[in-house]
Symmetry: C2
């Protein structure tokens, strides 16, 4: 599965991730490209890009869905797992390249870990 055809819409969405180089909420993304494509298309393109290991998704503090570029993932192996930080002031999200140790929980099989830190970002904590 995943991206098969490189359409104009796909290129437009990918360019946003390349240029801005930071996490994007779907709501914001839809706003950015609203003159170029339908919101349903945005959702579907993001789905395919994620299935291909090009971007990854997570939920922000207000429950909205966000996406950011992956580093070294493929359709088969989504290896780029990390926590996220969202600023309470400016709402920006950063992918954190820190490793947080999760202790084993007896009789439970942990399959995934979602960590969202919130607080003041570098710019907003001045």
């Amino acid at each position: 599965m995943g991206i098969i055809r490189k359409t104009k819409a796909v290129t437009t969405v990918l360019q946003i991730f390349e240029e801005k180089n930071e996490a994007q909420s779907v709501v914001h993304l839809i706003e950015l490209v609203k003159d170029k494509m339908n919101k349903t298309t945005v959702y579907r393109i993001l789905d395919r890009l994620e299935a291909d290991g090009i971007i990854h998704s997570f939920n922000g503090k207000d429950g909205l869905k966000w996406y950011a570029k992956c580093k070294g993932c493929s359709a088969e192996h989504h290896t780029d797992k990390h926590p996220h930080f969202q600023c309470t002031e400016c709402d920006k999200v950063e992918c954190l390249s820190i490793d947080i140790k999760i202790p084993t929980i007896k009789n439970h099989k942990v399959e995934s870990t979602d960590i969202l830190l919130t607080g003041r970002c570098e710019v907003c904590s001045i």
Copy 2:
């Protein structure tokens, strides 16, 4: 603010948390009491109970809002912070009383930490 009047509806909601003694999704809670009160009332009661430090809220894996009883919190001090575990099979959520160390992130002021682990619970991992 918080709970001021102990109404029938408030008592009903509180009883559910006392009896079941496990985390409840708002959607499930509304279903449980749908013959006794309006869904808006459920949302408002949960808000007030949370403001009073009696319950705490978090988002489950599918983005739905969940609540569970607090241990030792008050309206002023919400001290009962902990990660949650949601089963991918049965959807149940557990409050985990484990402590996960978050390293400091330079130039960032971390104010809160939301951790959701997903996987197989004790019952479902057999």
